[in-house]
Amino acid sequence: MAEIVKAKEPFRFHTRLHLTELTGLRAINLSQLAELIREVPGSSIYHHTHRFLQQHQYLSPEPPNDFAYWVTEILGEDELGERLSSIDTINYSTIRLLRDRIIETIEEYLENNPLAKMKFAREGEEFYFIKSVSFILPTDYTANDLREFTDILKKVTIDSIYFHIFESRLRLEKNDNDFSNWIGNSVGNKSLAEKISKLDPYTHTLEGLRGNLVYMLERELSR
C-alpha cells in the first residue's frame, strides 16, 4: 500500500441548501417556452436542468430535465423531449452556453415540425418558471489526505456531494469539479483527478455517484 500523501491545502467540505423562488412566468406552448428560456435568469435555467437530480435522486438512470419532462409528458412531443434530455450538460461550462443549446434545440425542432407550435398545455399544466436560490455553508468536515477525504465522503450529505460536483463547476463557473481540483492540485494525484473529471455525473443518482467516487478512491488507496 502506497504512503498517504498529505495535501498542500486541506479540503473543506461545503454544503448547499436551496430555496425555490417563483417568477410568476409561465409558458403554454413551445414558442413561448423558447422565448422565456431566453429571458429568464440563469438561476432558473440552472433550476430546471438540475432539480430532478436533487429531488428525484433515487431514480436511475438519468432522469430528464424539467423542459424534457414537460415537452414529453404535457405536449406529447417525445422526439423533442428525447433531444432535450440527451443534451450533454457536462459539456457546458456555463449556464449561458447550456441555455443557448436548449433554445437552439427547441428552435431547430420547431423549424422542422411547424405543427408542434399548435400544441398548447391545458390550464394548470403550463410550464412554470422557477429559480433556485443557493445557500452555501461550510460544514465541520475537513480532509488533509485521501484517506480522510474518503471517510468523510462516505458520510457527508448528498447536498454536499451535489455542491462540489455540479454546482461549483457550472454555477460558480470553475472549470472542473471541486474534488478533481483538490486531488489534482493539492494532493498531486493527476491521474485520479482526471478519472473523476471524466465521470458523467448526470447519468448517476447522487448515491450512485457517491458509491462510484468511494470505489475509485479506495482502489487508489489500496494500490
Binding site: L19, T23, H56, L59, G124, T139
Partner: protein, 403 residues
C-alpha cells in the same frame, strides 16, 4: 410532541446537522408567527409541530393569534371561498367589517418579531403597522384562479411585505416582491403517518368488517364534490369488471356541511348494491386512517381541485402505489410513471388502477420511488429547513448566498 433526535432514524443525522447549521445563522433573531386560530385547520396543525422543533434548534420562535368576531370570520370564510374560485357575493360591507376587525388587531397585537410571519388572509392587514422589521406573508390556499375583487383587495397589503410564499407554482403570479415556493409537509411521527404494528392494522380492518381476501382500493377524503367520490365509485366499477376488488371511501363526518350530507347520501346510494364498497365516516381518527392506508393495495385521490393534497404524501410515505388527478399540488408529489400515476378522467383512473393491480412489481416500484420522493421533499424536516432559508433570504437578496 416529537423531539428532533427522533427524526434521525428517518431522515439521517446529516439532515438534522444541516438544520442546526442554519439555526446558528439565525441566532439572536426572533421569529413571530401570526395566524387566526391556535387549533383546527392545516396552518395550526403545522405550527403546533414546527414551533417547538424550531425552538429546540435554538431559533427563538413565537406564535401569536389575532382576534376577530363572528362577523369577521364569516367575511374571511367568504374570502377563502372566493380565492378558491367559488362564486361569492362580496360587497363593501364585507370589506368594511374586515378592515374594522383588522384595525382592532393592529392596535392589539404586538408585532415584536425581527421577522413577522403572517399566515393566510385573515391577519394580512397587520402589515400596516410594519416598522423596521422584516415581514413575510404565507398563502396556504389555492389562488390559481381567485376572485379578482378579493385578490385586488389583498394585493394592496401583499405588496407591502418583503416576500410572499405559495404552496404550488400554479398559485404564483407576477408580483413586485419576491415569492417563494414552499410546499406543506407531513410529519412522519404523527399518528397519521407513524409505523403501526400489523396487529393494529388488522384490528382496524376487523372493526369495519373488511376482509383482506381481495385487493383494496382506498380514497381518504371528505365527502365533498371536489374530491369526486362518485367518480371514484365509477372508476372502481370499471375495474371490478375485470378484477375482483373492494373499495374503501373513508373521510371525516360531514354533518356540519349541508352539501357534504348530500354528497354522502349520493355515495351511499351508488354503493348500495355492492357489498365490496365500504363507506366509512371517521371523525378525526388518525390512527385508523393510517391503518386503512397501510392495508390498501392502491390509493386513489381523484380530486377535481386540490389545495395541495397531503393525503397523496401520506399514501406515498407508506410506499403505496397512488393514482391521483393532475391538479393543484398533486403533480409536485407525483411524477407520472416515476412515483405514481396521474389521471384526468374516470376512465383514466380506472385504467391506471387496473395497470397497478395487474403489475404488482411495477406498482411496488412506483410506491418505493414515491416514498423516497416524500422522504426527500415532503417531510416536516424539509419544511423547517426551507422556513429557515426563507428567513435568511430576507437578509440576502442574491441568488447564490455564501454564508
Amino acid at each position: 410532541m416529537a423531539k428532533l433526535e427522533e427524526y434521525i432514524p428517518i431522515v439521517g443525522q446529516s439532515i438534522i446537522d444541516d438544520l442546526k447549521l442554519l439555526a446558528k445563522r439565525l441566532e439572536g433573531k426572533v421569529v413571530q408567527h401570526i395566524n387566526s386560530t391556535a387549533v383546527g385547520g392545516g396552518v395550526a396543525e403545522i405550527l403546533t409541530r414546527a414551533v417547538p422543533l424550531l425552538n429546540e434548534l435554538g431559533l427563538n420562535t413565537k406564535w401569536d393569534v389575532i382576534k376577530g368576531g363572528e362577523q369577521f370570520f364569516e367575511v374571511t370564510k367568504k374570502f377563502h371561498n372566493a380565492l378558491h374560485g367559488r362564486i361569492e357575493e362580496i360587497g363593501q360591507r364585507d370589506f368594511d367589517i374586515f378592515m374594522g376587525a383588522s384595525a382592532e388587531n393592529i392596535k392589539g397585537v404586538d408585532t415584536y418579531g425581527d421577522i413577522v410571519f403572517v399566515h393566510d388572509p385573515q391577519p394580512i392587514a397587520l402589515i400596516n403597522k410594519r416598522a423596521e422589521n422584516k415581514w413575510l406573508w404565507r398563502c396556504h390556499i389555492d389562488v390559481s384562479n381567485p376572485n379578482q375583487k378579493v385578490w385586488k383587495f389583498l394585493m394592496d397589503f401583499i405588496v407591502k411585505y418583503d416576500s410572499a410564499v405559495f404552496s404550488a407554482p400554479s398559485f404564483s403570479r407576477r408580483l413586485p416582491i419576491r415569492q417563494f415556493l414552499i410546499s406543506p409537509s407531513i410529519d412522519p411521527l404523527s399518528d397519521k403517518n407513524k409505523e403501526l404494528p400489523q396487529e393494529l392494522v388488522d384490528s382496524v380492518l376487523r372493526k369495519y368488517e373488511i376482509k383482506k381476501d381481495k385487493p383494496i382500493i382506498t380514497q381518504i377524503s371528505r365527502f365533498d364534490r371536489l374530491k369526486d367520490p362518485v367518480g371514484v365509485i365509477q372508476a372502481y366499477l370499471q375495474v371490478k369488471k375485470y378484477i375482483d376488488c373492494q373499495l374503501i371511501l373513508a373521510g371525516g363526518s360531514a354533518s356540519d356541511d349541508p352539501e357534504g350530507v348530500q354528497v354522502l347520501a349520493e355515495v351511499k346510494e351508488k354503493s348500495r348494491q355492492d357489498k365490496d364498497i365500504h363507506i366509512l365516516l371517521l371523525p378525526q381518527n388518525d390512527i385508523e386512517v393510517n391503518a386503512l392506508q397501510r392495508s390498501s393495495d392502491v390509493i386513489i385521490q381523484k380530486s377535481i381541485r386540490e389545495g395541495f393534497g397531503l393525503t397523496v404524501s401520506e399514501a406515498l410515505w407508506k410506499a403505496k402505489p397512488v393514482v391521483a388527478s393532475n391538479v393543484g399540488g398533486i403533480p409536485l408529489q407525483i411524477k407520472h410513471k416515476y412515483s405514481g400515476l396521474l389521471c384526468h378522467s374516470i376512465d383514466g383512473a380506472a385504467f391506471a388502477i387496473k395497470q397497478l393491480l395487474n403489475s404488482p412489481a411495477y406498482a411496488r416500484k412506483l410506491g418505493e420511488n414515491g416514498r423516497e420522493n416524500i422522504r426527500n421533499n415532503f417531510l416536516l424536516t424539509r419544511h423547517l429547513k426551507e422556513y429557515m432559508l426563507l428567513f435568511l433570504s430576507l437578509y440576502h437578496p442574491e441568488d447564490v448566498v455564501q454564508l
